[in-house]
């Protein structure tokens, strides 16, 4: 875009009068003689100003469009966040779940009880969309550490775990999450799998008449089709839980379920092919990230009609995922779909300001082209190209 009107033709036509039989025209010869046609870009104030102005206008328009699409307006909201790191234990309100699960004793208690939270919130305006996405958002969780990222076994993820006689050895990168204390191979091994987010969250709409209505949350369709199709496969033995091979493997240390229980409702959505697992395995770029948890299909639910109506909601959370030990936080994000994915004002604002800057520059150059240069008595209008 920066070349359009600042092209000046340079033609290195020279006299071929020095008649040498070898001196011929033609592209290849010109190339050899280094006189192929060239365009010379001349960046002068007056030649670039239209570029700046045109481009600036385009950017401003783009930015405004982006902003319109993604920002909250008066009638609905696009995104809602709530942090539940320190939510209270339903069974014992004096203790937060964060404290509760940090107490090592609870794991050895005989009547172990999962810490449950109830997090209430209100949508002041409806959130529109035929789908509403539920994300869990983690902060200060470094999924981007080198050793962490590497710590997985692609073969395992593809279900290549060997036979019961000779189980496949996990890759070294998985250490120290390759075997448990007894030496049994962990499947799936590695730090990434081990640290999988395992809170379970259910959203309820507090309907005026019907009371707490659980909202149906879809568990499938949250992972990338390429992941589903190519990267994650269950071993054939997966569907025979009593197969001797499973005696050689164990679940990751920090999981509170086996690989068969990841989705109780859908046996297909388990093991390596569990979409929550796939989503988790695609490591995030920054320590503050969100990952898709569930999708709400609003159209198929009577109460929701065209989205989440304004009103009070609460989340019931089985709080099992520990983040406070590394000063992390976790939360839930609800978003309505926009073209640009998550709500990100930066895109629009930046576009507009960049456009603005180039508009201003363009105008300055325009002015300059007519005043400063002429004051100095310059040459911009000349179409004679020195070179």
């Amino acid at each position: 875009e920066n070349t359009a009107n600042i092209l000046t033709m340079e033609n290195d036509q020279t006299d071929y009068s020095r008649s040498s039989p070898k001196k011929k025209s033609g592209f290849f010869n010109d190339l050899k003689q280094q006189r192929i046609t060239a365009w010379k870009l001349r960046y002068t104030e007056s030649s670039v100003s239209p570029v700046f102005i045109g481009y600036g206008a385009f950017l401003v328009a783009l930015g405004i469009a982006v902003l319109l699409v993604s920002s909250n307006n008066s009638s609905d909201i696009k995104e809602f966040k709530i942090d539940y790191t320190f939510c209270a234990n339903v069974a014992n309100v004096s203790v937060t779940c964060a404290e509760y699960i940090q107490n090592p004793q609870i794991w050895s208690m005989e009547n172990f009880q999962i810490c449950q939270c109830k997090v209430q919130f209100e949508l002041t305006k409806p959130m529109k969309g035929d789908k509403i996405y539920i994300y869990y958002a983690l902060e200060n969780f470094h999924q981007n550490l080198r050793k962490y990222v590497k710590s997985k076994d692609d073969d395992q993820l593809l279900g290549l775990i060997g036979s019961s006689e000779q189980p496949a050895e996990p890759v070294k990168d998985c250490q120290p999450f390759d075997r448990d204390d007894n030496g049994t191979i962990i499947f799936p091994c590695g730090a990434v799998a081990n640290s999988m987010f395992n809170d379970s969250i259910q959203l309820y709409y507090e309907h005026d008449l019907q009371g707490d209505v659980p909202i149906v949350q879809r568990r499938r369709g949250i992972a990338w089709s390429t992941d589903v199709g190519y990267k994650f496969k269950n071993p054939p033995e997966f569907y025979n839980k009593s197969h001797p091979i499973w005696g050689r493997f164990t679940k990751p240390k920090d999981w509170n379920r086996t690989i068969w229980d990841l989705d109780d409702s859908d046996p297909e959505n388990n093991g390596m092919e569990n979409e929550d697992f796939m989503v988790w395995m695609r490591t995030a770029a920054f320590s503050k990230f969100r990952k898709m948890y569930r999708i709400i299909d609003t159209a198929s639910q009577d109460i929701l009609e065209t989205g989440l109506p304004a009103g009070t909601y609460h989340l019931k959370i089985n709080y099992t995922y520990e983040v406070t030990s590394f000063q992390g936080t976790k939360g839930i994000v609800l978003t309505a779909p926009t073209i640009f994915g998550q709500q990100n004002m930066f895109q629009g604002i930046f576009s507009i300001s960049l456009g603005g800057i180039s508009l201003v520059l363009g105008l300055l150059f325009l002015l300059c082209g007519y005043t400063c240069r002429h004051g100095k008595g310059s040459f911009t209008k000349s179409n004679v190209v020195m070179d």
């Binding site: 340079e10 290195d12 020279t14 670039v48 470094h142 992941d227 994915g341 930046f350």
Partner: protein
Amino acid sequence: LTVTLEVVRFIQALFINWDLDMYHPETDTFATARTSNLNEELGQVRYIFSDKTGTLTRNIMEFRGCSVSGAIYHPDDLIYGQNELLINLEKGGDSARDIRHFLILLSVCHTIIPEYPSEDDGGGETIYHASSPDEIALVSGARSLGYAFEKRTPTWVEIKALGRTDRYELLNTLEFTSTRKRMSVVVRSPNGNIKVYCKGADSVIFERLKRDRATEVMRRRTDTHLHQFSTSGLRTLCCAMREISEEEYNEWQVIYKKASTELHEREKRVEEAAELIEKDLHLLGATAIEDKLQEKVPETIDALLKAGISIWVLTGDKQETAINIGYSCRLLNPTMELLTINKDSKDETWDCIVEYISKSDATATRSKQHMAVVIDGATLKYALHPDVSEDFLALCCRCKAVIVCRASPMQKAEIVELVTEQTGDITLAIGDGANDVAMIQKAHVGIGISGQEGLQAALASDYAIAQFRFLTKLLFVHGAWNYDRMTKLIFYSFYKNICLYIIELWFAIYSGWSGQIIFERWTIGFYNMFFTCAQPIAIGVCERHYSAETRLKYPILYKLNQDSFNLKSFFLWIANSLMHSICLFWLSFFLYGSGVVWSHGKEGGYLVLGNFIYTYVVVVVSLKSGLETRTWTFFSHVSIWGSILLWFVFLILYSYAYVYFPVGQEMLGIAGLVFSSPVFWVGLVVVPTATLLPDFVWKAMEVPEFETLNVKMRSFDEEKGKLRKQRRSHKKGSEDLHNLGVLQAIDRVRNFFAAKEIGNNKQQAGAMTEADMRNSSGDTFNPEDLLNLQVNEDQDEQDDESSLGREENLNQMGTALVVRSIHVRKEEVLYLDGLDEIEIG
């Protein structure tokens, strides 16, 4: 980078080999680059060491004219099919006698050995052999005028004078030595008279002439002719003779014999003896020989000097010859002060050098233009002594030209080495013969003249060219281009790598310095290999900073860009690339947010961001190469758009590679992810442009180089405070001046005025006032006067418009034009001088 450099250098070398402008049809030789590592050094040459014979000159002497008894004759001037000289010879009279003696002298006074072509070869002309080609030229010249030298025995020479064979008895031969600077023969002519024929340098001959009025008149006239000859670059010798009586000869012969058999200080004695007979000479005239320069040597030297290159001519020849050649190839000009250093001891040499230095300090600024050092081999030995060499170098570096004569091959090499080591500038040595090999190898860039007999020089050289004149094309075009290209290429290569890899550093801030990379491994690997390899090559091969024609026309451009590869530029580029990487990373960072950049709400992971950034990097880096490219050729387009396209294609292919091959597991489907994200496309517009915006603005603000020249000139002019008036009265000229860029304008103005001047001279010569005549012609030309005059006339023009008669007014304007034209030329000279000084400063 190394690979790119090598590829580019190789292609540049090919360009040199292919260049038809450096093709010499006579010998059917192209220039050959025997190494490609020095392509860019050709663009930084500050010192040229040139051999003379065979390099500057063809070493073929030609008799080009003579001045006999006060008249100039050219061998080619024919009247009615006969040479004027011979016509005058037949006319008889004093002048005929002089002419006859002159021709006899030419055919007798020499040390040539003739070789007779055998009958088998079909006879033909006698071939002459001599230690000096000058003599051959003179004798051949005489032959062409009808006085052919035929035979020589130790006691006589036989000449065929206009068909008649005459035998001259050789009584004595007083040989040429560098101190005597002349040679004489004492002969007995066929009619029995004894004559002394003497030829030699004008200075020594003139001292020994008869002291009478007629001779004095002759001397003056001949002197003028000599001056004419030497200013047109011809080598001159004076010829004189004396008739002596038998008694005088006998008397002298005794002395001479005694002197020549002396054991002690024989040379000196012989000289003294010779003095006795070489006196009261009758001046016959002078000869002019051209040591034919190679084609366009003066123009080439002129251009090289203008480009700020110091030229050192290192020759084995004697001093006079060297100086003569210096003049004829415009290395020296008559306004130059020659600092001759001929001393016999180290201390004297040193003193002499120090004295010259202090002298040049006194004349300060303009010294560089107007001094040339001439030193001979014997003195050079002292000058190269470690104690002295520093001062010697200091002196030489103040001069535009240095001529070293009687230098041995070793000395040539030593002096080249000295300059190369001490100044640290790029030196170039050019020569053709085996004796130049040492020097060629010592200099940074060695150039051999190829296509002639010897191959040693060409084989030892880095570049071989057929003619000296090709040096301009090689240096100004190939050298300067290649330097510019290499500079850009290297900077650009640093830039592109920093731009990409520093982003990893920025990412490390977020990844807890764990060393996690944000790009996929193989894509990083292919960055330099595929996606950013074409751009630097395109720059390195196709960039042409100023066209070849411009560069050849304005040698000063060579000097102008010579130090573009400097630390400042380097840091600017580094800063630039840091800026870009910061922009690229954080803009993408903010755009990407928490990674949900699709309407279907899925989250992309780190590699999607990585590929966003990578794409933007490729685009930015490609466009940046476009911004830096001055001349967009077909290849620039291919490299820039092609590289971007290549990356997109690669990304798509690589994204699906895992389906078929066990590579790129992490990259699986990334292309689909990236391209389906609207944020990516918004970013593709916003991020590269935001990154390059400052660069683009900078480019637009940057004053083009010609403008810089322009400004420089203008500031110089304002210092002088003169051109303004010129402009006021000459709107047309001033517009041109701005519109065309200074250099062109100067050319135009010059042509314009030259044309005017001719016209005006013809029409209005009569109308010139006496004062104008005095001012605008002759040696007493004083630019200051002229300026005053012009100012006055400017006023006159305004004041007198009404009062003066129209005709008179016209006349005056015409005169003013003439004056102004000279004025313009003067200013040009001043301007160029000034520019030089600015450059030096």
